[in-house]
Symmetry: C2
Subunit: 241 residues, 2 copies
């Protein structure tokens, strides 16, 4: 099965929500996947897929997002790709619900699902040899908040330590968001330098850090969560072209 | 000499000027380069270099920028890296002035300089087998403007067609800017889909497209160009930490 460095790759950014969307594809067959597509960028992303001649097979969500609405449903309708999300989400609209350690094969590569709950109870990371897409479980020098959507600091600590930091140090880390202009990290860098979850921190210290954050709710949470529980299948939201 | 896929890589973004800064390094020796660093991100970039244990050898500018001030001088002072810019810039502060087809060796990889004037007369692209850093000569589905700093549409057309589109179609394209959330392209994609410079366009059509743009001057041009002609060595600009 192919290593990440031998795959085609596009990292796309949504400036409004600071969300990364990823395209990963087999350069031979051009079969590939999209991770965390954003509704407002549907036109941009569809055009890129078409220009590349890519055959979109699966649309993966790293979790039920609270800050943006997914374009999964529209992408599925336009391309025939199947929507994939953690079984813990209980969404009825998805083509397939994913379990921890489940493996999905696409062209000449393979994606392994790693349950990483704690930011939400639906968080799933996606590992390809050489890279892991961590959603909001592990951000670059940070992590997702744990104060809504069944979030839990002890659960997030265990998820990151057991299911992400057990990967090779050289594994590239591609998160769902960044706010400082970073685009990638590695497991080794986060083990050494993540100020919340790095190996020098205890679970108790992490829980205390998260308890002190006191963040406002995401602006779009009351629109985004219900819409994403329907895979973005909503008719009254304008769509980017 | 190593292929780009076997090198370490960080793509960094400056949200204010939409500028990409790149770190490329040999994962064995950790010797590497930075391309187009932005003054406001000096602290972020220095910290990343330190956290990675990277030995910064060279600071490359793709051209004398008009939209942001480089952090080259401060990076040089802090790390000992050498500043590199096109000979056409005539800057006296640089450690080395680069010529077309000159090759610079760093650890186990090699950078070849490709003169790509037209956006400015100082534009230089940097090729590593598998990837090219194109500055403002070739953007993703676009290109830099040609109406100041000795810009020339016919010159830019020739630069892109002769010195960039002659590379393998699979060569990844990493530009100095993007405004739509893209982060990379390839020579093949730009040959097929660049609306200004794609292979379906003639030089006359390109010159006409560029003549119609009628853009405002970059906000920072009167500060940035003089500062960048001094490699960013100015004492009265606040520096990010």
């Amino acid at each position: 099965m192919k290593h990440f460095r031998d795959l085609g790759f596009h990292q796309l950014f949504d400036h409004e929500s600071s969300t990364f969307t990823y395209l990963v594809y087999d350069p031979g067959s051009l079969e590939g996947i999209i991770i965390d597509p954003v509704r407002e960028n549907l036109g941009r992303d569809l055009r890129l897929v078409e220009e590349m001649g890519m055959k979109l097979k699966y649309i993966f969500e790293t979790h039920i997002h609270a800050d943006h609405v997914t374009s999964a449903w529209d992408l599925k309708v336009k391309t025939g790709a199947k929507t994939m999300v953690s079984r813990a989400s209980h969404v009825k609209c998805a083509d397939h619900l994913l379990d921890h350690l489940e493996e999905i094969s696409v062209g000449s590569f393979l994606i392994r699902c790693l349950a990483t709950p704690g930011h939400t109870n639906t968080c799933m990371s996606y590992w390809i040899p050489g890279a892991v897409f961590t959603g909001d479980a592990l951000l670059i020098r940070g992590c997702g908040r744990t104060d809504f959507q069944q979030g839990s600091s002890p659960r997030l600590f265990a998820s990151v330590r057991e299911n992400l930091f057990s990967l090779d140090d050289e594994t590239l880390v591609f998160p769902a968001h960044d706010y400082k202009g970073f685009s990638r990290s590695s497991i080794g860098l986060e083990k050494r330098h993540n100020p919340r979850l790095g190996m020098q921190k205890t679970e108790a210290e992490f829980v205390e850090i998260m308890a002190q954050l006191k963040l406002d709710l995401p602006k779009k949470i009351h629109e985004a969560v219900p819409a994403n529980l329907e895979c973005g299948k909503i008719s009254n939201v304008s769509v980017g072209t």
